[in-house]
Amino acid sequence: MANYLMEVGEVSKIKLHGHIDASIAPALMEELKPLIAEKDKVKKLVFYADELEYIASAGIRAVVFAKQKLGGKVQVYLIGT
């Protein structure tokens, strides 16, 4: 069951939550694979971070990785309060 990836489509959605440290970030990276496989249909990627408590560089790297793999035309949003 996906922990982070909520939806793959024209507007794809990822919910960042809890602690994303170096031991957890590989799971986030793994969940990005189906999104990247469908990159031709993605126009926007939204990261929801309201429930994110902690993120280390390994998690930030996954966010940057997603953007780089999806290509320059995809708009990326990070939403949180």
């Binding site: 280390a56 560089s57 940057v64 780089q68 290509g71 990326v76």
Partner: protein, 135 residues
Amino acid sequence: MLQSKEFPARREILPQVLTEITAEVKKYFTDDKWINRLKVAAEEILVNIVDYSGSEKVWVSCEFLAEEKSLRFEFVDEGELYNPLEEVPQVDIDAEMDERQIGGLGIFLYETIMDKLEYQCDDGKNHLLAYKNLV
């Protein structure tokens, strides 16, 4: 005070080490923002040791220096001798995401968070000392 404690240098033990470090930090810092920042700094230092030093063990200690009002962390490993502070990579945090380099973010984070960093080579081991003054 967390006296020098030995851990296997593996990613799986990071949560356990960070839990112990955070428990120590909470004795001196009450603001969650700073508790999490110090946890990030400790994690980034540990990840670099675990992933790149080649050491099988890492020793961690944490001590409050009353005179300086500063919390001092010490990370020791017996991997390849390497001073991470010698060539701190420049990270352009204003660069477009498409142009971001993957490496260097960890050291950038802990250098930004901590007030002082020192490297020593003693007994053929790497010692990284990281200080944070009370805020």
